[in-house]
């Protein structure tokens, strides 16, 4: 029986150590793009992502804009989960922590300035390479979980990768596009509501 148990463990370990990796091709632009990966073509919709699985190895990736103009042509070595960044856009990996009531913060925070915007007391890492090995928990379109549950932990660090304009929006440096349709009166109301929130003791 013990032998069966060991065989199962070995099998599971083998199964889990398969050399297949999850890749995300991100398209932060407002235009659809075509990604040619070796002999396969993927369409990535505007502001969307495409999830693919690849086994480890070398790949040639060509990315085309809708008018068939070549956006990028790169060789990559796949050896981990990763995100493909065809536009060489700036992404920010935002490391944050989840704490229980008894948890003590251990995250190192500092101020970061990105494109003239000052982000205060945060832990950021910026990336703009074509192939970004995955070191985060939440992908670009995945929201943060509000809570996580553990038996033995009071403090856990989690990270999320952001497109820069999503980060700007989350930190108030950029307003949602639909705000451009508001008139001055409606904006006055929003400014007033924001002011009220700022006056709350917790802020």
């Amino acid at each position: 029986m013990f032998r069966h148990f060991i065989i199962n463990i070995v099998f599971l370990t083998y199964a889990c150590s398969s050399n297949s990796y999850d890749l995300i091709i991100d398209n932060p632009s407002d235009k659809d793009i075509e990604v040619h990966l070796n002999d396969t073509t993927y369409l990535v919709y505007a502001l969307g992502v495409k999830q693919i699985k690849l086994s480890s190895g070398n790949y040639a990736i060509n990315t085309f804009l809708p008018n068939d103009s070549l956006l990028s042509s790169e060789q990559i070595i796949v050896n981990s989960d990763a995100m493909i960044n065809p536009f060489h856009s700036t992404y920010v990996i935002f490391l944050d922590e989840f704490l229980s009531n008894l948890g003590v913060s251990t995250l190192k925070r500092q101020n970061y300035e990105i494109n003239g915007d000052l982000y205060q007391n945060v832990n950021f890492e910026t990336r703009d390479d074509f192939f970004i090995p995955k070191t985060w928990d939440y992908d670009v379109l995945e929201p943060w979980a509000s809570n996580e549950y553990y038996y033995f932990k009071k403090n856990i660090k989690r990270s999320k990768i952001y497109r820069l304009y999503d980060l700007k929006r989350e930190f108030g440096f950029r307003l949602p596009d639909e705000f451009n349709l508001l008139n001055v009166n409606e904006l006055d109301s929003l400014i007033y509501q924001t002011e009220l929130k700022l006056r709350r003791p917790e802020n």
């Binding site: 989690r158 440096f173 904006l187």
Partner: protein, 452 residues
């Protein structure tokens, strides 16, 4: 039996080990499911966003304020670039302001013309304070001898006796003399001994003294008049032979002045100017009931002579309240305002011109609900088109207030306007004027960035 027991113990031990290791291992978390084996409640770990929320709110407020400012000015035009070499939007004004600010050279003077919306120095008072605070300058500027709103005005304490006769461009059939820069002239009673006027500087920043005092008067019709002025006990002759005569009465700062005019014949007196020799000066020229179209009655030669002395760099024209009706066709108003703007362009060739639109104006509809009057948008369109056609700058005050329905909000919610749903109160005039200053100053900053 013992083998079975060992197996159960081993399995339990393994599951506990797995449950513990799972929480420590990212690999297990991403590839396997968690098992809940311990008979205790898990701790809930929460992401604390409070740390960022304050900054997020501050940034959001700033972004909203910036967007609001952009909205306000998006419909206003500063025509700096003009390819035919004529008037160049606000560039003459900005050049003069730049000389004042950077080179400490001379004055930059603004003539603020308007209807009842600006009477009592409303609007212009705040603009003056804002400019003098930022770019220097002292004094309340040009004041007519007689004012219908002297008791209401707080930027100068003004009193006069009843012997004065006032004529204005609103009734040109009565005119015996050319109108002055304010669209008025004032006649002292001939051979009268009681033609007095007094001014006191109020206890307000920038206008609390009269740095230099100048009188502007016209020419008598008789060949050898005997006109004089008693100014704070000193006598001055008023026998100038020009159509517009200026007389410096004092070059030392004064807190108050008393003037008594003695005239042998009718003599048009235009007004008095309290001004500094440097910085920004703003003159308020309000004429209640003036739609603006009558401004062409001002003689260009006379305006030019005033301009030789006063040196205007910006002419603000804020009219239109008196043409708001139930009509929707204001092509005639556009055509007349084009003539007015051209008239001022010729009279003040080195000054920029800014046309300020009417504000929002509301009226009860058939259901008894206050709402923006239909013709407001048509009047504004006519004003904007007049500005575009004459290539001068335009400020959309209506839009800056918040657009449709904003007057109701300004009256009922913000308490910035009177119950007539037309006129601002003091606080509202200050707010509205700050919007204009904000637009002008933002454009000036752009001008400096381009220049530097």
């Amino acid at each position: 039996m013992f083998a079975g027991l060992y197996f159960v113990i081993f399995t339990l031990f393994f599951l506990c080990f797995y449950a513990y290791t799972y929480e420590q291992s990212k690999f297990l978390q991403s590839h396997f499911k968690q098992i809940n084996i311990f008979p205790i409640v898990k701790d809930s770990l929460k992401r604390s966003q409070a740390r960022y929320e304050h900054n997020q709110l501050i940034n959001t407020k700033k972004s909203l304020t910036d967007l609001r400012q952009k909205k306000i000015t998006s419909d206003s035009i500063n025509r700096i670039i003009n390819y035919d070499g004529g008037q160049k939007g606000l560039i003459d004004f900005f050049n003069a302001l730049y000389d004042v600010e950077k080179l400490n050279k001379g004055t930059c003077r603004i003539a603020y013309y308007g209807d009842s919306m600006i009477e009592g120095d409303l609007m212009s008072m705040t603009l003056r304070e804002a400019y003098q605070k930022q770019y220097g300058g002292r004094g309340v500027g040009f004041i007519p001898i007689v004012s219908l709103t002297n008791k209401f005005r707080i930027s100068v304490i003004h009193d006069y006796n009843a012997s004065w006769r006032r004529e204005s461009l609103l009734d040109i059939s009565k005119l015996d003399f050319p109108l002055g820069i304010s669209g008025e002239y004032f006649i002292a009673e001939a051979n009268g001994s009681n033609n007095t006027v007094s001014f006191q500087a109020p206890n307000r920043s920038f206008v609390n003294t009269f740095p230099i005092t100048k009188l502007f008067y016209g020419k008598s019709k008789t060949a050898n008049p005997s006109n004089s002025l008693d100014f704070n006990g000193t006598s001055f002759s008023l026998n100038g032979q020009l159509a517009v005569n200026s007389l410096v009465l004092s070059q030392t700062p004064l807190k108050g002045v008393d003037l008594t005019f003695r005239t042998s014949d009718e003599l048009p007196i235009y007004g008095i100017s309290f001004e500094s020799s440097s910085g920004v000066l703003v003159d308020n020229f309000a004429l209640r009931g003036n739609s603006g179209i009558a401004m062409t009655a001002l003689n260009q030669n006379i305006l030019g002579q005033f301009n030789n002395d006063l040196g205007y760099d910006l002419i603000v024209l804020q009219f239109g309240l008196n043409v708001v009706s139930e009509n929707t066709n204001y092509d005639w108003y556009k055509a007349r305002m084009i003539r007015v703007v051209e008239h001022f362009k010729h009279s003040f060739p080195k000054a920029s011109i800014l046309l300020v639109s009417i504000p929002d104006i509301s009226k009860k509809n058939d259901q008894g609900v206050m709402q923006t009057r239909t013709s407001v948008s048509y009047v504004i369109e006519a004003q904007k088109n007049a500005a575009m056609q004459t290539e001068v700058s335009f400020f959309n005050l209506y839009q800056a207030m918040g657009g449709e329905g904003s007057m109701v909000k300004w009256v009922e919610e913000l308490k910035l306007a009177n119950d007539d749903y037309i006129h601002f109160n003091f606080k509202g005039a200050r707010n509205a004027s700050n919007l204009i200053f904000s637009f002008l100053d933002k454009e000036y900053l752009k001008f400096k960035e381009n220049d530097e």
